[in-house]
C-alpha cells in the first residue's frame, strides 16, 4: 500500500521510500523513514494535498509525492 491511499486518521508504518534522489532525500529529511509510524491527519479542500503526522510534526504532501512511500497497516 502507498501512503496516498490511506484514510483520514489511519495509522500506518513506513516500509520503504522510493522515488528519484531529490524527492527521496527530502522525504527522508522530513522524517518519512522506514520503520516510522505515520498518521493521516488532514485532507485539503480539493483532496490533494494531504497532511501527515510523523514523529511530532504535521507535514503536507501532494498525493503524487506521497505515492513514493510504501506503508503497511499497523500490526497490533
Amino acid at each position: 500500500m502507498r501512503l496516498d491511499n490511506i484514510n483520514l486518521n489511519d495509522y500506518v508504518t513506513i516500509i520503504n521510500v522510493f522515488g528519484d534522489t531529490s524527492i527521496k532525500r527530502r522525504l527522508l529529511d522530513l522524517g518519512f523513514i522506514p520503520g516510522e509510524e505515520v498518521k493521516c491527519v488532514l485532507i485539503s479542500p480539493f483532496k490533494d494535498p494531504k497532511a501527515y503526522q510523523v514523529h511530532g510534526n504535521v507535514i503536507a504532501l501532494r498525493n503524487i509525492d506521497a505515492h513514493n512511500i510504501e506503508v503497511q497497516n499497523e500490526v497490533n
Binding site: T21, S22, L28, P34, S44, P45, H55, R62
Partner: protein, 662 residues
C-alpha cells in the same frame, strides 16, 4: 576582549531568529512558518567581557539539502569559520533536531545543543531528561523558551564554556569500510575526512566540486557502489538519534494536539476552508478601514491647519513667493497627504497581518490552495510568497527562495505583483470610498472592505492564469515536489507583534514613501511653474499624455502620476492632486472630502475610477520590488518580464472596461 563567533543552526521554524533577536537586540523577521529566514544575518552582543557574534541561518532539515535557502545554511556550516555551532531543536519533536545535531557534530568540533520551545512541550505534557541527553550527546544541552526570553543567559554561558571535541563518528554499518578507504587519501585539518569521504560515496556533486576547488580532494575515480548510500546514511543517523533519545522523552498525555487538529479541520474543511480565508481577509480590511478613518481626517486637519502659519513664517524670512509656493504647495502638501492618508491604515493593517503570520495561519492557506497551484504546474508555497506580497512585494519576491525548483520560483516572482501590497491599500480605500461607496453611508466600510477582498480575489485568479500561461510557454515544465510543514498554532506576544510591525514595517515603509514624496513634490512644483511660451512644462506633459490616457479610460495627469509614482505607490494620489491643482484653478484642500470635488471637477467618472484602480494595481512593480527581482533572478530578461506582464494585463483590462462603459 575575547571574541566568539556563533552560528545558529536548526530545522525550520524552531525559533532561531527569535533567539538571535533576543540576544543581539536585532529585529530579524520571525514568523510561524518554515522558511521565514532566507539569508544569513549577523549581529553582535557583549556579555561579561566577551564579544559574541551571532549568525542567524535559514532553517535546514539536514545538511545535504537542496532548496536555495537551505544550501545557504549548509554552506555556511561547512565552509565558514566560526567557533561554536548552536543547534536549536524543537522540544516538541526532538528526534528531527537530534538528527541535525548528529550531522552537525560530524562537521563541527564545538557544538552546543539548545532545546527551544520548552514552554510548548510542557503544555503538551512532554518531559525531557536534559541531563541524560547531555551525557549521551557529549555536548552541553540548554533548555530555552526564546519567546519569553527564558534560558538565554544559560545559553550564553554554555557557548562560552563549550570546548572543542573530536568530530563525531557515526557507525554507518556496511559503509564503514568504504568510508575508511576513501578517507585515507583525504588530508585536511579543517574538515572531517570521514565526512568528505561520505560525500564522495554519496556522489554529491555539489560538495565534490566545491571541495575540489578548495584543493581538499583531488580528481576522483568514480566508484560504483551497489548500496543506496543516501538511505543507508539517513537510516543510520536516525537509528543513532533514536538510541540517544531512548528514555530521554516521556509523554504525560497522548492526545496533546487534539484541539489543534480540530481547528485545522475547520480551517481546511471542504466547504469552509476557502470562505474562512476570504472572511479573515475581509475582516482585516474592515477593521483597517473603520479604524483608520478617524485618525486620518484628524491628522489631515491638523497638518492643513498649520499651512497658513508655515506660509507666514516663510514670508517672514523673506523667501521669494515662488519658493514658498514650491515648498508649501509642492512639498508640504504631498508630504502631509502621504502621512495622514497612508499612515493610519498601515499602522492597523501591518500588526494584524503579523499577528496572523505568527499565529501560523499562512501555511494553512498554502495547504488549501496547493491543488490549484499544482493544476497550474506551480508550487503551493507560492501562496506563502503571495501572503508576504500583501505586506510588501519586495519581501514576497525574496521569500520565493523557499521554493526549491527554479522554474516554480520564477513563476512566484513574476506573479507576486498581482497581490496588491500594503502601500496600495490606502489609495484604493480612498478611491473606492469616493466613487463606489460615498462617505457617510451606513454600510460604507463593509462595501469598501468587500470590494478590496474582491480585488485580492481577482489578483489570485490572475496569479493562477499567469502562472498557468507561464508554465505552458516561457517556463515550461512539470510541477516538482511539494512538502510543507504545518507548524502548531502559536499565540504571538501581542506587544512584541505591535512594536515590531509598527516600528520595523509600517514606519520603515512610510519612511521610504516620505523620502520619495519630498523630491516628487518638488519636481511637480517645478514643472508646474517653469513656463515655455506661457505654458507650463506640466501642461505640456499632460497634454502629451492625454491621448494615451484617453485610450485607457483615464487622463494625462493620472498617467503622469502613475509613472512618477514608480518609486513608491504611496505618492501616486498626491502627485495626481498636485497635477490637477496646478493645471486648473486652485481649490483649497482643507478637508479630505475635497478630494472628491477635485476628481469630479477634473472629469472623473466611475469609469475613470475603475480604470485608475486597474492601472494602479497592475502597472508595474515599484522600484524597490523591481530591484529585488533583479537581485533574485540575476536576469534582465525576467526583470523586464516582471514589468511587461502586469502592464499588459492592466492595459487589456482597461480596454475591456472602456468597451463596457462606452
Amino acid at each position: 576582549m575575547k571574541s566568539i563567533k556563533v552560528a545558529l543552526v536548526g530545522t525550520p521554524n524552531v525559533g532561531k531568529s527569535t533567539i538571535y533577536n533576543a540576544l543581539t537586540h536585532s529585529h530579524e523577521h520571525t514568523g510561524n512558518w518554515p522558511g521565514k529566514t532566507v539569508g544569513v544575518s549577523k549581529g553582535e552582543c557583549v556579555y561579561q567581557d566577551t564579544l559574541y557574534t551571532f549568525y542567524d541561518l535559514p532553517g535546514t532539515y539536514s545538511l545535504i539539502s537542496k532548496s536555495q535557502e537551505e544550501v545557504v545554511a549548509t554552506d555556511f556550516i561547512v565552509f565558514s569559520s566560526f567557533d561554536v555551532a548552536v543547534v536549536v531543536c524543537d522540544a516538541t519533536s526532538l528526534e528531527k533536531g537530534i538528527n541535525l545535531v548528529l550531522q552537525t557534530k560530524e562537521i563541527c568540533r564545538n557544538v552546543v545543543v539548545c532545546i527551544n520551545l520548552v514552554d510548548e512541550a510542557k503544555k503538551k505534557g512532554i518531559n525531557i531528561d536534559y541531563k541524560l541527553l547531555e551525557k549521551r550527546l557529549g555536548s552541553i544541552v540548554v533548555p530555552t523558551s526564546a519567546r519569553d526570553k527564558e534560558g538565554l543567559t544559560e545559553l550564553i554561558g554554555a557557548i562560552k564554556h563549550s570546548q572543542n571535541k573530536d568530530f563525531l563518528d557515526i557507525d554507518y554499518g556496511v559503509l564503514n569500510k568504504l568510508i575508511e578507504e576513501a578517507a585515507i587519501n583525504i588530508k585536511t585539518d579543517e574538515y572531517n575526512p570521514k565526512w568528505i569521504a561520505l560525500k564522495i560515496l554519496e556522489n554529491n556533486k555539489y560538495y565534490i566540486n566545491k571541495l575540489n576547488k578548495l584543493g581538499v580532494i583531488n580528481k576522483l575515480n568514480e566508484q560504483d557502489i551497489d548500496y543506496d548510500v543516501n538511505l543507508e546514511v539517513v537510516l543510520k543517523v536516525a537509528k543513532k538519534a533514536k538510541e540517544i533519545l531512548k528514555n530521554v522523552i516521556s509523554y504525560e498525555r497522548v492526545n496533546y494536539d487534539a484541539k489543534e487538529r480540530k481547528i485545522d479541520r475547520i480551517l481546511t474543511s471542504k466547504i469552509w476552508g476557502i470562505p474562512i480565508m476570504l472572511a479573515i481577509l475581509f475582516g482585516c480590511f474592515y477593521i483597517t478601514i473603520i479604524g483608520a478613518n478617524y485618525p486620518s481626517s484628524l491628522l489631515f486637519n491638523f497638518f492643513s491647519s498649520l499651512e497658513g502659519g508655515i506660509i507666514k513664517f516663510l514670508e517672514f524670512i523673506h523667501l521669494p513667493a515662488l519658493v514658498i509656493d514650491l515648498l508649501v504647495n509642492g512639498v508640504y502638501k504631498t508630504l502631509y497627504f502621504v502621512v495622514s492618508v497612508m499612515m493610519p491604515p498601515m499602522m492597523i493593517f501591518f500588526p494584524m497581518f503579523t499577528f496572523l503570520e505568527d499565529l501560523g495561519v499562512l501555511p494553512r492557506i498554502a495547504f488549501n490552495m496547493d491543488r490549484a497551484f499544482s493544476k497550474c504546474k506551480a508550487c503551493g508555497k507560492q501562496a506563502l510568497t503571495m501572503c508576504m506580497g500583501i505586506g510588501c512585494n519586495a519581501v514576497g519576491v525574496t521569500g520565493a527562495r523557499i521554493i526549491d525548483s527554479k522554474r516554480e520560483r520564477l513563476i512566484a516572482i513574476l506573479t507576486n505583483i498581482f497581490m496588491p501590497c500594503n502601500g496600495k491599500f490606502p489609495t484604493l480605500i480612498a478611491v473606492i470610498t469616493i466613487f463606489f461607496v460615498g462617505f457617510n453611508k451606513k454600510y460604507g466600510s463593509v462595501i469598501c472592505a468587500l470590494i478590496l477582498t474582491g480585488v485580492i480575489f481577482l489578483g489570485i485568479l490572475l496569479t493562477f492564469l499567469v502562472s498557468y500561461i507561464l508554465s505552458k510557454t516561457i517556463l515550461k515544465g512539470e510541477p516538482s515536489s511539494f512538502t510543507l510543514e504545518l507548524p502548531p498554532y502559536r499565540m504571538p506576544n501581542i506587544i512584541d507583534t505591535i512594536k515590531y510591525s509598527v516600528k520595523d514595517r509600517a514606519i520603515f515603509v512610510l519612511g521610504r514613501a516620505v523620502k520619495v514624496a519630498i523630491p516628487a513634490g518638488l519636481l511637480i512644483g517645478i514643472i508646474a511653474n517653469v513656463k515655455i511660451n506661457d505654458v507650463s512644462i506640466l501642461r505640456y506633459l499632460v497634454n502629451f499624455l492625454d491621448p494615451v490616457g484617453l485610450v485607457l479610460g483615464v487622463d494625462g495627469v493620472i498617467i503622469l502620476a502613475l509613472l512618477l509614482g514608480f518609486p513608491a505607490n504611496e505618492i501616486v494620489i498626491p502627485i495626481m492632486l498636485m497635477g490637477y491643482l496646478n493645471t486648473n484653478a486652485l481649490i483649497d484642500m482643507d478637508n479630505l472630502n475635497v478630494l472628491r470635488d477635485i476628481f469630479v471637477n477634473n472629469g472623473w467618472t466611475i469609469k475613470t475610477a475603475i480604470c485608475f484602480i486597474t492601472l494602479f494595481l497592475y502597472r508595474f512593480p515599484c522600484s524597490t520590488t523591481l530591484l529585488t527581482i533583479y537581485k533574485e533572478t540575476k536576469s534582465k530578461f525576467y526583470t523586464l518580464l516582471s514589468v511587461v506582464i502586469p502592464l499588459f494585463i492592466g492595459i487589456i483590462l482597461c480596454l475591456i472596461v472602456n468597451c463596457i462603459f462606452f
